[in-house]
Amino acid sequence: MIQAILVFNNHGKPRLVRFYQRFPEEIQQQIVRETFHLVLKRDDNICNFLEGGSLIGGSDYKLIYRHYATLYFVFCVDSSESELGILDLIQVFVETLDKCFENVCELDLIFHMDKVHYILQEVVMGGMVLETNMNEIVAQIEAQNKLEKSEGGLSAAPARAVSAVKNINLPEIPRNINIGDINIKVPNLSQFV
């Protein structure tokens, strides 16, 4: 079982913090800091496995981490997970992020923290591996995003929405789209032009 998934940058600032076991808030922050210190000491050419720190549970737990550019992805797992398998899982997760965000970088993670959570939810659920097929995950995420957009609730990606909208030839969009029984009201986008 995966205990926790932490993503932080080279200075220790957390970018994604997800615990699958309950810890009080201060302990959570302490764990992030401790993990950061442990991982920072590691050279780049040594193995990616660390015995866990004292806070996150004892001798059965290992930290498996990968360093991508400015970010550390750390999975804290117990002995029931295969270590080499988790390394691959981190890779799958990062590649999925790449597909969803198009050349993902740290800024994407910073500004779309909730989206990253949603993507993670499709890969790991309740501390267990749910799905590893990238295409399926991406398809699901896109379906959900579409659902959200259609409700008219713009989530934290106005920049992309704006650029997308700018490319649309606005005067040609009808005000109402009727497809069979579904009646979708197109919102007034003029304020974004």
């Binding site: 390394l87 910073i110 309740g126």
Partner: protein, 785 residues
């Protein structure tokens, strides 16, 4: 009226713009105030944005508990956007310990039964992340229904939710066990992964489920076969291996099912061999599958050829350039070393190579494995390697390495000299990190190896002269120089280069140790006592030693002061006793781990437990006279065996041998004294475990009309024997057959010489004090043969 507040990206920008922690805190506090106000106002459309901001702030470590109720409201809202953020908030902010969490049970129930697919997915996800036991019980039926829905998306999530529920409420296993077999027939990999996780969980929790699931072993093997043979499949392949995650999970489940079960293992043997030989190991994914296969082969009762293959694969892993592979290989070899010792031995050279790796995780594993691989044939080379490692290893591994080397040396030392050398080297390199009893062990070892006394003392002297900072080494060296100073000074060491040491040099060195600020108080104690012992070993006069000792008579450290004062007394009033007291110590029985006195007060641990009688000073002196009488009678002029080194203490210092219950053929007793109704009878027991030991019970009985009071019995034996008197049961024998006094005497007779004993009795009888001394010569032959 909602105050204008920042949108999430703007908030993030501002936080990033803050130059100091205090500034960041200010921005966040301001924003939190806005959020709280917005929550109070209850503005529905904006609620999800506020919560999103709050979650961001929460990730940075700021308190966010006031958002918990908002999560509930958002979950209850019909909009997907709201639900999404609401469920995320629930997962991050709520947990079993807050009462609020139960309130979402109803919302989850509704969403599970009526929601759209994504909503159902969200609900299942939340349930499996923070579902408490009560929630799981309430929602078990819903989840079970969802297991049979047509959509694979929902089913895979439902299966994993079931795993979580079983963890929380084990009784629910009954509900989720039946669908498993059905679910295994699915083609969808997500469902398969989930199902296998579920089955694994069920099997681990209750052994009763094992027989049920052993029937599906053929099915599992089939799935694995399809995966391995199917070749490239774009969907699930990672680096050319088709769905390594699923393969790994299946292999793990096969391991659990096949453990201790011949039949299942047979069914999987072929498949395991196939996977082991056909997997492409150029990338990590292949290695993950191969590694899991190896673990499975090793854990189940498999064919021996297969096991050898597995160990060889692990050996190959050790040579892999990828550090991660080496790490996992070392870990599993460590587990294997108990069961397949010889197979792992073959890879010993590679393991030793890994010791030199700069990676701390790897070298730690390699150290554990190397220590497990030491045996009597490779002890010398391994110790050399380990000592090399000890010199260069990081500080946290030193203690483990040092104690490992010492333990291995103790178990497998080929010669005593090698053993002593090894311990000395460890102490020189890593003295500060060894365990406390290393000093005691080493002194005991040196003491026992008579032929090596000269050699050890020379080596230790050299080591001490080079460096006086390593405390354990200094302590041992001081003790040795004290004990065997005469050998050191005579330079009579054949095994090493002859060493010419002057008395003055030795004294200077010991003084240096005494005065150095690096020395611990215990070390100073050792040095002081060593100086005292040297006073009898050296030929020159003792003025220097007397000076030092008298200086320390006013030392601030109480232990040192006491010693110095006592030694001073030895010089002045009891000079005649000094040689006897400071003679060489006899070997002490190694008490093993029960000996918990070590280090401080090392003179005391050499003492047996204080069962010996402890009279005051005068009986000791008298006893010496007694012994002189006895020895005078037999014509010897040597002093008696060494006495206790703390004057004013107890009686003859002897081997402490465990009391054993007598179990032999009875030896006839002996009446040795009879006067005016007082009789002394001796009875004998020879415990079979220790042939040289004789236990004598002296019984003093009184048939006269008057009590015998203040009864003291003392005994002495010739030089070749060793005697110990235990505490008598009393000192009064009441008149006319009252309960007698018994006293146990222990005699050690290693040379099996004829036993003679001189007894001295003092008591009051009939109002008079009586003293009797007599010799007992005619002991039964069984007592000493």
């Amino acid at each position: 009226m909602v105050l204008p507040s920042l949108k999430l990206p703007e908030l993030i920008q501002e936080i990033r713009g803050a130059k100091t922690q205090a500034q960041e805190r200010e921005v966040i506090q301001k924003e939190c105030a806005h959020i709280r106000a917005a929550f109070r106002e209850g503005d529905a459309p904006q609620r999800h944005r506020q919560l999103a901001k709050l979650l961001y702030v929460h990730m940075l470590g700021y308190p966010a508990h006031f958002g918990q109720m908002e999560c509930l409201k958002l979950i209850a809202s019909p909009r997907f956007t709201d639900k999404r953020v609401g469920y995320l908030g629930a997962m991050l902010l709520l947990d079993e310990r807050q009462d609020a969490h139960l309130l979402i049970t109803n919302s989850i129930k509704n969403d599970l039964s009526q929601g759209t697919q994504p909503v159902q997915g969200l609900a299942l996800c939340t349930l499996s992340t923070m579902g408490s036991a009560e929630m799981c019980r309430d929602l078990a039926n819903e989840v079970e229904r969802l297991l049979l829905r047509p959509s694979p998306y929902i089913r895979k999530k439902a299966v994993l939710a079931a795993v979580h529920m079983i963890r929380k409420v084990p009784e629910l296993s009954d509900i989720f066990l039946p669908p498993c077999t059905q679910l295994l027939r699915e083609r969808h990999h997500g469902i398969l992964i989930g199902t296998i996780t579920l089955i694994t969980e069920l099997c681990e929790r209750s052994p009763a489920a094992l027989p049920h699931f052993r029937q599906v072993v053929p099915q599992l093997v089939q799935i694995l076969r399809i995966l391995v043979m199917s070749g490239y499949s774009a969907e699930h392949s990672v680096a050319g291996i088709s769905d390594p995650f699923l393969q790994v999970k299946i292999l793990r489940l096969l391991r659990i099912l096949g453990r201790n079960h011949e039949e299942s293992s047979e069914a999987m043997n072929d498949m395991l061999a196939q996977v082991a030989t056909n997997t492409d190991t150029s990338r990590n994914a292949g290695n993950a599958v191969l590694y899991e296969t190896v673990l499975t082969i090793v854990d189940i009762p498999s064919a021996s050829g297969l096991r050898v293959l597995a160990v060889n694969i692990l050996g190959r892993f050790l040579l892999n350039s990828d550090k991660n592979i080496r790490y996992v290989a070392l870990t599993s070899l460590l587990q294997l070393v108990q069961s397949d010792h010889s197979a792992v031995q073959r890879h010993r050279p590679t393991v030793v190579e890994c010791l030199k790796d700069p990676d701390a995780s790897l070298s730690r594993r390699a150290l554990e494995l190397s220590l497990a691989l030491v045996n009597s044939s490779n002890i010398r080379s391994m110790t050399q390697e380990l000592q090399g490692f000890l010199e260069s290893c990081p500080a946290d591994l030193r203690a483990d390495c040092a104690s490992g080397i010492l333990l291995a040396a103790e178990r497998f030392a080929p010669t005593k000299r090698w053993h002593i050398d090894t311990i000395m080297q460890v102490l020189t390199t890593a003295g500060a990190h060894v365990r406390d009893d290393a000093v005691a062990n080493l002194t005991q070892l040196i003491g026992g190896a008579e032929e090596l006394h000269a050699y050890s003392v020379c080596q230790l002297y050299n080591a001490l002269a080079a460096d006086i900072s390593q405390q354990p080494l200094v302590q041992v060296a001081a003790w040795c120089i004290g004990e065997y100073g005469d050998l050191l000074l005579s330079g009579s060491c054949e095994e090493a280069e002859p060493l010419q040491v002057q008395e003055e040099e030795v004294l200077t060195l010991l003084e240096k140790v005494l005065q150095s600020h690096l020395s611990l108080p215990a070390t100073r104690g050792y040095a002081l006592t060593a100086l005292m012992k040297l006073s009898t070993r050296i030929q020159g006069d003792n003025n220097r030693i007397r000076q030092i000792v008298s200086i320390y008579g006013s030392c601030l450290d109480i232990e040192l002061q006491q010693r110095a004062v006592e030694y001073n007394a030895l010089f002045r009033k009891y000079d005649h006793m000094r040689p006897a007291i400071l003679e060489k110590m006899p070997l002490v029985e190694h008490g093993g781990p029960q000996d918990d006195e070590a280090g401080e007060g090392k003179e005391e641990p050499w003492n047996p437990n204080r069962e010996s009688q402890s009279p005051t000073k005068t009986p000791t002196a008298n006893l010496l006279d007694l012994l002189d009488l006895l020895n005078g009678a037999s014509g010897d002029a040597q002093p008696p065996p060494a006495l206790d080194l703390t004057p004013g203490g107890s009686l003859l210092h002897l081997l402490d041998l465990p009391s054993t219950t007598p179990s032999l053929a009875p030896i006839p007793g002996l009446k040795v004294f009879d006067r005016e109704g007082l009789q002394i009878n001796l009875s004998f027991v020879r415990p079979p475990e220790i042939p040289a030991l004789l236990l004598i019970t002296a019984t003093a009985s009184n048939t006269s009309k008057s009590d015998v009071t203040h009864f003291v019995c003392q005994a002495a034996v010739p030089k070749s024997f060793q005697l110990q008197l235990q505490i008598p049961s009393g000192d009064t024998v009441p008149a006319q057959g009252g309960p007698p006094i018994t006293q146990v005497l222990r005699v050690l007779n290693p040379n099996k010489a004829p036993l003679r004993m001189r007894l001295k009795l003092t008591y009051n009888h009939f109002g008079q004090s009586v003293q009797e001394i007599f010799e007992v010569k005619d002991f039964p032959p069984d007592t000493w043969q």
